[in-house]
Structures are given as C-alpha cells and as structure tokens.
C-alpha cells in the first residue's frame, strides 16, 4: 500500500528535493568551468569523465523532478 504523507511531511520532502537539485546544479556548474579550463589548456583526459558525470547529475535531477510531481499529485 502506498504511504500517504501529511502536508508537513510532503513539504519536508519537497524542500529536501530542492536542496539536492540545487547542489547538483552547482556541482555541474563547477564541472563545466573546470572542463572548459582544462580543454583550453590542452588537457583532454577529464573531458569524457565530466561529460558522463554531468549526464548522471542531470538524470538524478530529472528523476527527482518526476518524484516531486508524484508527491504533489498525491
């Protein structure tokens, strides 16, 4: 049976999701700046790993957004 959350619990979950999403976006920003700096300096080793990491961060963000929609609809 699906757990039903109180309004307060939902609010806490939503704020938690927002915090995690913000942290991931900041992490992606840092990775982008570092990758650009490395690329301009001729260092190619980190480009592929950071691209994959950024994609994973985006996937997590998208998953959290879907969960947020689900929470707000129940």
């Amino acid at each position: 049976m699906k757990p039903s959350y109180t309004r307060e619990q939902k609010l806490t979950i939503v704020y938690g999701i927002l915090t995690i999403v913000l942290l991931l976006v900041v992490l992606q920003l840092y990775m982008l700046a570092a990758t650009m700096n490395a690329y301009l300096g001729g260092d190619e080793t980190i480009i592929v790993p950071t691209a994959i990491a950024s994609l994973v961060c985006f996937a997590l963000n998208a998953g959290l957004l879907c969960y947020l929609y689900k929470i707000e609809e129940t």
Partner: protein, 181 residues
C-alpha cells in the same frame, strides 16, 4: 457622513476585490498568485539549467573531437632571421587568419612565439622585451617572455606556445602547444 463604526462595518462586509480601486477592478490580476513561484516550476527551471550544462559538456567533447581530427597543423613561414632584430617582435597569424600570434627574438639565437590572446579574456598581449614580459593592457596581466607563464594579474594559464622550425634562414610555425601550467 459616515462614522468610524459605519466605516468599519462597510469595510468588513466588502470582499477584498470590492475594496480595490476602480482601475484595479478593470485589470483583475491576482498579484500574489502571479508572484508565487511554484516549487514545481522552480525545480523544472533548475532541471532545465542542468540540461543546459550537459549540453555545454557535450559541446566541449565535440570540439575536442574536432580538434583531434584536424591532425598535424600546416607549416607556415613567418619571417626571415635577419628581418627581426634582437629584442624585436613580429605579429603573424597562425593557424587561422584571426588567430594572432607574436614572434619575439630574445637574443641572437633565441626565438620564441606565442599566441597573442591573453588566457584571461583574450585581449591582445603586448611584448615588452626590455622588461622580459608580455603585458595584457586590459587587466594588467603579465606573462614571462621566455616561457609564456603568467607572472601576475588575473591570467592563470600560460600563453599557448607556437612551435618554431628554422629552415634555410626562414622561421616556420609548425604547431601550437597548449599548456595548463
């Protein structure tokens, strides 16, 4: 003439909409709702920004792939040895027409060449051979003339070095060396 008590009664019986001035009634925008940013909308916006960063990362990946595909850079004649006096400099384009570079003769046998774009915000650096440095006039960045490394100011990366080749009294550019430190 309304008394205070009557005023209070009238105010209480009117709805918030009815209390508004006439022009506000003509343009009934629910301002609190308009200003309220739903959590869902904010998170959606953040996820869109996240997607934009992913595009940025993959754009760098594609640019790197294209750069690798270009292969060996062409040889380009810059100047004859006797064209440049000791302590003199000459600007040239390499690899594209808009990629400005500078060749400097440090002494009788030493030539150095670097990209003229400052690694901070791409202003053109000016060779100051007597002081042994390149100066970026935009934000007072300085680079060592011998190795292109930043000496002071906002630049963090050294100037890209142009690889030189001497062939029959002519100096050729034959590649670009990008450096992190």
């Amino acid at each position: 003439m309304l008394t205070n008590k009557q005023n209070q009664i009238n105010v209480k019986s009117e709805s918030p909409c009815q209390q508004q001035q006439r022009w506000r009634k003509d343009f009934p925008i629910d301002w609190p709702q308009d200003r309220f940013i739903a959590r869902r909308d904010f998170t959606k916006f953040m996820v869109l920004i996240s997607l934009a960063f992913v595009f940025g990362q993959f754009w760098i990946l594609i640019q790197n792939f294209l750069r690798q595909r270009r292969g060996k850079l062409p040889l380009r004649a810059i100047a004859k040895i006797n064209e440049i006096p000791v302590g003199g400099a000459k600007t040239f384009s390499y690899t594209q027409e808009y990629d400005s570079c500078v060749l400097v003769r440090l002494d009788a046998n030493t030539f150095v060449a670097y990209s003229q774009e400052c690694t901070h915000l791409s202003c053109s650096v000016v060779p100051k051979v007597e002081r042994g440095c390149f100066q970026c006039p935009c934000h007072e960045g300085y680079f060592d003339i011998a190795n292109g490394r930043p000496l002071s100011g906002p630049p963090r990366r050294p100037l890209p070095r142009i690889k030189l080749k001497l062939q029959q009294d002519t100096i050729y550019a034959q590649g670009v060396e990008l450096r992190m430190i």
